[in-house]
């Protein structure tokens, strides 16, 4: 029970973290494009 429960928490954490990470990468890319066209 314990490992099952913990496993879920770890998985959710990783998913949220990866989502945040991808968002920040995309934001950075979009900023770079906007800065270039200035």
């Amino acid at each position: 029970m314990v490992t099952g429960g913990i496993g879920w928490v770890v998985a959710v954490n990783l998913i949220i973290w990866t989502g945040l990470f991808l968002y920040m990468l995309r934001l950075g890319k979009r900023l770079r494009e906007m800065e270039k066209e200035k």
Binding site: V2, I6, V9, V10, N13, L14, W17, T18, F21, M24, L25, L27, G28, L31, M34, E35, K38
Partner: protein
């Protein structure tokens, strides 16, 4: 190159997340698995304070240079400090509910972080109340520096004169660290990860603000 660093950070924090639950042992005196929240709650508080320090540094640089980019950097640091501060307060409240039965106990540490949130809010309120860019930069820089002078009293001096429910701080009264080494590994790794995350977010925030002003970033 930046992408490589970003992916490294992703790996680092993923390792921290896994390590927090599988590698680090449970802390003594904590209920069940709840001590794991430490590896996120504490680094978030550190990141919040890092924001305050960064804002003070950028504020000093602004007062010297009067470069609006420095002012934008200070404001961005405060905003991030507020974000991490709120996260730290919320994770702390969740943990407090588990450990002590109530979300809020007016524990000196809880009070201190609440007051620091008031600081961030006050700084942003001040910025909102000034229209002229130069005056805004000048006055908010002064306030940020005043804030950093006062916060050590909030975080280190006042909590130690009154009884606290909080566990001993990481560096206890003798200056020694009494945490299991594996817990220390994860905690410091997490701290580094959150610090890197702060600087990355700060960089993005500054660039967004610069584009809004249609001026070059620092």
């Amino acid at each position: 190159m930046k992408n490589l660093l970003a992916w490294l950070l992703w790996l680092w924090i993923s390792a921290v997340i896994v390590g927090a639950f599988y590698y680090a042992p449970l802390a003594m005196g904590f209920l069940g698995e709840s001590s794991r929240i430490l590896f996120f709650h504490v680094p978030m508080a550190w990141a919040s304070f890092l924001g305050f320090i960064a804002a003070a540094v950028w504020s000093i640089r602004y007062l010297r240079s009067r470069n609006p980019a420095h002012d934008r950097a200070a404001a961005a640091a405060i905003e991030l400090g507020l974000l991490f501060g709120v996260l730290a307060t919320v994770t702390g409240a969740v943990w407090a509910r588990i450990m002590w039965g109530a979300y809020w106990n007016w524990d000196p540490r809880q009070t201190s972080i609440l007051i620091s949130l008031l600081f961030y809010g006050a700084y942003l309120a001040l910025r909102g109340a000034i229209d002229d860019q130069d005056t805004r930069g000048r006055l908010s820089a002064a306030y940020a520096i005043l804030g950093i002078v006062v916060t050590p009293f909030l975080f280190w001096i006042v909590p130690r004169i009154t009884y606290s429910l909080h566990p001993e701080p990481v560096i206890n009264a003798e200056g020694k660290i009494e945490m299991e080494s594996r817990m220390q590994h994860v905690l410091y790794a997490s701290g580094l990860g959150f610090a890197a995350l702060f600087f990355w977010m700060h960089d993005l925030a500054c660039r967004v603000a610069a584009l809004r002003e249609r001026k070059p970033a620092p």
